[in-house]
């Protein structure tokens, strides 16, 4: 209704001006047909804009979802053909053409990723604990300066191209073991370099969300700081920490470039992390695709099936991480 008031041409007539200035009636001035038309047009315009924008934004959401669904469908339709017992029970040793499996690559991925997690999770969580629980509460300039430096380094490392992490570890290991040395452990170290900042920032966020009043409650009971952290802060943050670690795992489990550099590829089973090349699922996909033998279709099928296994693994990890976080918020209530 105020719209009609503002649209009233000023000084259109002395009686109208009087109406506007006298109390409640001012808000419903007499309508003239021309004004009503303008109002209707304005409303219609608004409704059209609203509809157009709704459709446009919904299309954006749909377009964003299409590639993912298409990817899942393609992987599923191409990959299912080799999801058979042989695929999960055999390596590629001595296989040329049809047959063969990815057991060695699955084991390689599991071992390398677990080792990377064992390295990255404690370092990431430890760094986050130090930053949130100690450095941020410190009044020493040295500590706060060091904390700022650590945060900068973590931020930069989080954006590090994964192949650079691979090259870095390659160079590092070449110093000790000489050039050309490849092993699952080197691959795990490279993945840990990528994973640590992911875990660290996730844990930092989760720890910062633990209410300060719980810390004060523990301290006021006479708890030493470290026990306040281990008995109150960490248990409260645990589901979030778990989901942070799982997100880190799903980030590195599909990494190809660093593993290609430092863990290499092999057709055979190798369960020794310390010695010799070790296959992994991403590198397996790459090598099947790149080095097709006589029966090219069999190589394609194996690559797709390995891709499917990898996608399912990543989805499962993401889902677990989300569920773990949701379970935690439900319990807090």
């Amino acid at each position: 209704m105020t719209e009609t008031v503002t649209r009233q041409p000023l000084g259109a007539g002395s009686d109208e001006v009087a109406l506007i200035t006298t109390g409640a009636e001012a808000f419903s001035p007499p309508r003239r047909p021309t004004q009503d038309l303008a109002l209707v047009r304005h409303r219609r315009h608004r409704r059209t804009v609203d509809r157009v924008m709704t459709v446009a934004l919904a299309s954006c959401a749909a377009v964003a979802a299409v590639p993912l669904l298409s990817l899942l469908w393609t992987t599923l339709s191409h990959g299912l053909s080799r999801i058979d017992p042989t695929f999960f029970s055999q390596s590629m040793r001595g296989v040329a053409g049809v047959g063969g499996g990815a057991l060695h690559a699955i084991w390689g991925s599991v071992l390398i990723t677990l080792t990377a997690t064992a390295l990255a999770a404690p370092i990431g969580l430890g760094a986050a604990l130090w930053l949130v629980e100690y450095a941020d509460r410190s009044r020493s300039l040295l500590t706060t300066g060091l904390a700022r430096a650590v945060r900068t380094v973590v931020g930069v490392t989080a954006g590090l191209p994964s192949i650079v992490a691979g090259l870095f570890v390659y160079a590092l290991i070449a110093l000790v073991a000489g050039p050309g040395y490849r092993s699952g452990l080197a691959g795990a170290v490279a993945l840990a370099v990528i994973m640590t900042p992911v875990v660290e920032s996730a844990c930092e966020e989760v720890l910062a969300r633990v209410p300060g009043e719980l810390r004060e409650g523990a301290l006021a009971l006479g708890a030493p700081r470290w026990r306040c952290v281990t008995s109150v802060v960490l248990p409260t943050a645990r589901p979030g920490v778990i989901s942070g670690v799982l997100l880190g795992v799903s980030r590195v489990v599909g990494e190809t470039a660093p593993l290609l550099l430092v863990a290499g590829f092999t057709d055979s089973m190798n369960l020794n992390l310390l010695d010799g090349r070790m296959a992994s699922l991403p590198v397996y996909i790459y090598s099947q695709w790149q080095n097709k033998g006589v029966a090219a279709a069999a190589y394609d099928a194996r690559a797709w099936s390995a891709a499917l296994v990898l996608v399912v693994l990543v989805l499962a990890l993401n889902l677990t991480a989300r569920l773990s976080a949701r379970w935690a918020t439900r319990k807090e209530r």
Binding site: S138, L214, G222, T236
Partner: protein, 258 residues
Amino acid sequence: MSHLKLDRVSAYYGAFQAVADVSLDIAPCSITALIGPSGCGKSTLLRTLNRLHETTPGARVTGQVHLNGQDVLDPATDPVEVRSRVGMVFQRANPFPTMSIGENVLAGVRLRGRRLSPRVAEQVVERSLRAANLWQETKDRLKKSGVGLSGGQQQRLCIARAIAVQPEVLLMDEPCSALDPASTAAIEELMVDLKADYTVVVVTHNLAQAARVSDQTAFMSVDRAGQPGRLIEHGPTTQLFNAPTEAATGDYIAGKFG
């Protein structure tokens, strides 16, 4: 009996002085209420008494607080040891969400690294919950989470947790400000029971509460924002409420500011 004696206590947050030169004798086994307008530093003063103030980055304290002759604020005094003698209940009930009701009561004992036999632990839980008037409501659900209790029950659980470690002094920082009248009445009743064994210092915005429960009242005030809070007047509650010696005290009690 725990005699708490403050001697020219000043508290700072960085360059800002929140409390200036408070000297105060707190009688043992009584309830002392700290009243005053918002921002007068009463909560800050309370938090210096168990050295919780210094856990805020940049915060510091000067002056002395004697607890049975020992200076609590002395840098040589271990703050962890002080806090095990001076318990605290906060404005918002803060039971530990990952612990059951029983574990919450025992948290103070366990957080200090002491182990209890199951039998002793049971006794401590029952004694503390009884002392906090919470035993009847919780005895059948000790293994359930403390977060499921009502606000007033949570606050009584926090009181049980604080007294489970048998402190000498109990500090309460607006313990009822988040509670409904019925829960408030339950806590007030509990406070009166507690003063038989503990020296209680309570910060409150609720003047009627101060008048109802406290034996001694200390009135703090601040001239204007940015100035430190000062102790204006301290005395027996009835005297302070009925015949205050300072004009500011009378004005505050009459509701003229604050």
